[in-house]
Amino acid sequence: MNVGIRNPVAKGFFYLLLLIWAVSVIYPLIWTLLDSLKDNEQFFIHAPWSLPDFPLLWSNFSYVWSKYNFNTYFVNSLVVTVGSTLLGLILSAMTAYVLARYKFRGSNFLYLLYIASMMIPFILALIPLFFLMNSMHLINTKLGLILVYSSSLLAFGIFVLVGFFKSLPKELEESATIDGASHFGTFFRIMLPLSQPGLITVAIINVLNIWNEYVVGTIIVNDPTQYTLPIEIAVMQQEMQYRTEWGPLFAALLVTIVPVLIMYILFQRKIASGITAGAVK
């Protein structure tokens, strides 16, 4: 039972605060869309919140897509995100399963070693990573990004998946062993399918993180053909000081935002459970 707020004035006031915040969150997305349909002149003559003039400049989108090469950046982001999410997921699922189900010397230490990296500021590794990638000839490659990103996903993945595997009933493996399944068979045929909800949760959180990542990207990649979306957005906004193309800039933002927004709408429950699982330390 929950009585809520009795005082109608207080209730109205709280509601107002909540709605103001909702507007402050949604409105930037709307204005991004509206401003992506304007030309420069409209930015300088009209107020920033004014509606775009007709005809709407949908051409801003085709302009950033082909002239600014967002087709390339979009594909780069896609390849890097999918690649590192899959690799990170496989590597963390394997280790998480063993850490959750097998006791061996050093297993606790190993678990702590992975978890500890969540406490270490990653920025410390930035300079060495640059030189490591350089010596491995992985600078300016999507593979380089994928390797570094998937490694950065391990701690979170292992942490959440160890918890998940531990929550699955032990009888499943025991009966599988009695039926003569090998360790590998048990994992691939029984445990992996059962752990799908956990794997999907981790994968979604990872996709969001990698799609949006900027720092490592800007260190490892400086060849424009290999840029991911956030790297290009940052470059593009710096160029705005010399050539003003506000409409295309907002179109570019939208190209970057829409995929994660769709993912969020589809998977919001998973995302909420993922961050809750990842933060209970």
Binding site: N2, G4, I5, F14, Y15, L17, L18, W21, S24, V25, I26, P28, T32, F43, F44, A47, P48, W49, L91, M94, T95, V98, F104, L113, I120, P121, I123, L124, A125, L126, I127, P128, F130, F131, L147, S151, S152, L154, S182, F184, W211, N212, E213, V215, I233, A234, Q237, W246, L249, L253, I257, M263, Y264, Q268, I271, A272, I275, T276, A279, V280
Partner: protein, 300 residues
């Protein structure tokens, strides 16, 4: 004999599942972190020939570098501002959306999380536009009330510009911590609230006597997390919005590290800033844990 071979099978299985991940992790995470500590002892421009071991000289130089002090100050300004701003607002939202019986609660919860799915780069660009002196929202809004068009360069003051970075940082952080706190509140047994209601306790009393003490652990985790992510990651918002300027006034440790290493090629010096960030975040973690534990005793 049989148990021997099954033990072998077990070990092979464990090894083949543990080792690939571990090797991978060592190469791309453990090694760079350790190497970061190592590089901080060198004077190094990036070429292998002129890498000179200098011991702790980089740290001595850091100590005498006025910019790093400015950067540390800015970092902690952001930590304090974000902890207060995010925790107050996120806690309020979490309570309002779980305990106030609002009809739109589910919808609002989904909406509030949206900034957290955006790249910090996108957030920086959006807020740059709000602050833009000629065509931005803020000046446009203020111009409604003035005769002359307002054209304040919000990100151009040599002092206090760091204040301008606080609203985007808070705006971007709230949804995440609200979700964590909502989960914590939902774990509180309803019976506690019901019992207190019978005793005539109002929302405020329930908040102070039940909610806060029972979600304190989660609040603590959140505060520590805000501190860590700020010291480690405020680089991006600074870099996108001000590049540490004007005149280094919004420099944070991360942006200074980036500038020193990747723009001025003082890689050893940059690495020593990385070590400084590590040390400060560990110290702050310990201090905060002490402070916040004390608080629980008082409340409990």
């Amino acid at each position: 004999m049989k148990s021997g071979s099954s033990k072998l099978q077990r070990n092979i299985f464990i090894a083949s599942f543990i080792i690939p991940t571990f090797v991978f992790y060592c190469i791309f995470t453990v090694y760079p972190v350790i190497k970061g500590l190592y590089y901080s002892m060198f004077d190094w421009s990036g070429m292998s020939q002129n890498k000179e071991f200098v011991g702790f000289r980089n740290f001595k130089d850091l100590f005498h570098d006025p910019i790093i002090w400015k950067a540390i100050g800015n970092d902690y300004f952001l930590v304090v501002g974000k902890v207060i701003g995010i925790m107050v607002i996120a806690t309020f939202f979490a309570v309002a959306l779980t305990r106030f019986n609002f009809k739109l609660a589910g919808f609002l919860r989904s909406v509030y999380f949206i900034p957290n799915i955006l790249s910090v780069v996108v957030i920086g660009v959006l807020w740059n536009f709000i602050y833009n002196p000629q065509i931005g929202f803020l000046n446009g809004f203020l111009s409604l009330f003035t005769k002359e068009k307002v054209s304040i360069t919000w990100l151009g003051f040599t002092s206090h510009t760091i204040w301008m970075l606080l609203p985007p940082a808070i705006w971007a952080g709230i949804g995440f911590y609200m979700i964590l706190l909502i989960a914590a509140i939902q774990n509180i047994p309803d019976s506690l609230y019901e019992a207190s209601e019978l005793e005539g306790a109002g929302q405020w009393q329930q908040f102070r006597k039940i909610t806060v003490p029972l979600i304190w652990e989660q609040m603590k985790v959140s505060i520590l997390n805000i501190m860590m992510t700020t010291l480690n990651g405020s680089f991006v918002i600074v870099w996108i919005m001000t590049q540490g300027g004007p005149d280094n006034s919004t420099q944070v440790m991360g942006s200074y590290l980036y500038q020193m290493a990747f723009q001025q090629y003082h890689f050893g010096y940059g690495a020593s800033i990385g070590v400084l960030i590590l040390v400060l975040s560990l110290i702050t973690t310990v201090v905060l844990q002490r402070l916040l534990r004390h608080e629980t005793v008082e409340l409990g």
